[in-house]
Amino acid sequence: MNGTGQLVATGPPVSVRGSWRPPGHRHLRGADFRWAIAFVLPYAAVFLALVVYPAGYALWMASDLSLYTDLIENRLYLPTLVNTLLFVGLGVNVKMFLALLLSGFFLRPRWWIKGLLAVYVLPWALAATQAGISFHWMLIGEQGLVDGLLAALLGIDGPLWFNNRWLGVGSNIVAYIWKWMPFWTLIFLAARMTIPRNIYDAAEVDGATGIRRFVHVTFPLLANLYLICTLLSTLWTLGDFTTVYLVSGGGPAGATEVLATLGFHYAFDFSRPALGVAAVMSTLPVLIPIAIILMRRLQTSLVQL
């Protein structure tokens, strides 16, 4: 967060209101100005007290460089880094790509697809804790529904999902995709609905149908939105604690932890809060560029309005 002022300052000198300024633009004066300040004040207070201050505090806690040698020497840190990379990299990208494809499916004008959409968005509205618990039970081994189904339908003994590192990480990723894919599908569905019909008609005349239409027409139109959503989702997913904590619980023996849960354990189970902050702060070299690209993209879009 020490980049706050810097990021804002180095960004292009454009503002949201820029393109909206009507011809007779005038500066706010007197009472209006005071009202505007009063309206902004609550959020400014929230931002300073609950974002800037804690972020600065976290940086200060994690500024001791010896923490990072402790981290590297910790047996769990490097495997956790790999897990986090898999969880975020696979989770976000598979989810986004499937959401993009499925948004095309939900666009089909059939009554039953509309009904299906209502069921399909259910995971988004289902509280994450309960969804995580349910996934944990489904995969808990031979007592779980998944292994029960495998035995009943295929006659095979399902694996013990949480006894193997890769199966555990995979379970977390699947649960994560289940929970969050519907939200992004809705976003892409909404975006596809705004693509004018005649663009597709023109493309069809030029021979672009099926996959070629998707590659040459739909995707280029949605590319900017897709990038923004992927970046935003990456940042949100790095902070996702609930899925891993409740689905695999980090087990076996911490082999499926991600940085969010490992930092939690350092801070609250091993009473090393600074190490916990350092564990998550060690992703800053990846986070900052993502945040900068995201800001630039969003500013461009906001200005184009």
Binding site: G3, L7, V8, G11, S15, V16, R17, R21, D32, F39, V40, P42, Y43, A44, V46, F47, L50, V51, Y53, P54, A58, R108, L116, V119, Y120, L122, P123, A125, A128, T129, Q130, A131, G132, W137, E142, L145, G148, I187, A190, A191, L225, L235, L238, G239, D240, T242, Y245, G249, A260, G263, F264, A267, P273, V277, V280, L298, S301, L302, Q304, L305
Partner: protein
């Protein structure tokens, strides 16, 4: 004659091929639909399966694919608060509801006021604040839990529901401001100017023009904020003590206890997940309308 006959044959073939393709596409989309239905409902079904199991305590539902003797005992135990861990369920539910509703109201209020001032009243340099707001997301939520734990003591909010509400509002508002700004471009400035000429004050503009016209976007923001608070486990677990526990924390705690009354626990889970689902379905038209507007702007 012969020319027509020559043409009729390939035409018929082409038509048949077209019809075959349509049937295949249709069959494929039905298959995909069934697959999605199972994918979406399997964890929900697992919850029902456990909740409807009559046995308490022992893991009786092992490997069952359907409830052999469905019973509503689990739900009864939740209502009467008789099962272990559920003695204070409705009090904890009240806490969750309090956090969820206040997060929702405050996010809508603070977010809409700020984005009204910046985008409608054209507060100069105001966009610096709303842009900086998005930087909140450069810090993933789990990063801040340790500093929050310390800071809430400084703010005098240790073990206070307001600590959680404050954290959730701080995370929900940047997204709220983004959505509101993207949606606000729908409302023509002439409307504001006309009202101004008629002597409307900024407060009247906000209440009479901005809020009613922004209703679909505000619905999305409200649902987003409620879901954020409803989904949360980490902040509620760390910032609140057992005395002020919420449903989310109570349920997550049970992993170490295999003897927990799982049917009642799952019944409680089902009761807990219902309110946001109901709200989403009540507001679904608003949600779709504003997502369409917002995504077309990006």
């Amino acid at each position: 004659m012969s020319v027509a006959a020559d043409l009729a044959q390939p035409m018929r073939l082409a038509r048949r091929r077209y019809r075959l393709r349509r049937v295949l596409t249709e069959a494929g989309s039905v298959m995909l639909g069934i697959g999605l239905l199972i994918w979406s409902l399997l964890p929900v079904y697992q919850m029902l399966l456990i909740a409807l199991d009559p046995e308490e305590g022992e893991i009786e539902f092992t490997g069952n694919l359907w409830p052999a003797e469905p019973s509503l005992d689990g739900f009864r135990d939740v209502l009467t608060q008789e099962a272990r861990y559920l003695e204070d369920f409705w009090y904890q539910f009240g806490n969750s509801l309090y956090i969820g509703l206040l997060t929702m109201v405050l996010t809508v209020l603070i977010g809409s006021l700020a984005s009204f001032a910046v985008s409608r009243m054209r507060l100069s340099k105001g966009s610096l604040l709303t842009n900086a707001a998005l930087l909140t997301y450069a810090i993933p939520a789990a990063f801040l839990i340790v500093p929050y734990y310390r800071i809430m003591h400084t703010y005098g909010l240790a073990d206070n529901l307001w600590a959680v509400i404050a954290a959730q509002v701080a995370f929900a508002t940047p997204f709220a401001i983004l959505i509101l700004q993207l949606y606000a471009r729908l409302i023509p400035f002439e409307l504001d100017d006309a009202a101004r000429v008629d002597g409307a004050s900024p407060v009247q503009l906000y209440l009479r023009i901005y809020l009613p016209l922004m209703a679909p976007a505000l619905a999305v923001v409200a649902i987003y904020a409620l879901l954020l608070a409803w989904n949360d486990y980490l902040y509620q677990a760390v910032l609140l003590s057992v005395r002020n526990m919420t449903v989310s924390v109570m349920q997550g705690q049970l992993f170490s206890d295999t003897d927990a009354p799982w049917n009642a626990m799952m019944a409680a889970a089902i009761i807990y997940v219902l309110p946001p689902i109901a709200l989403l379905f009540a507001l679904r038209r608003h949600v779709m309308a504003s997502l369409t507007m917002v995504s077309s702007g990006l």
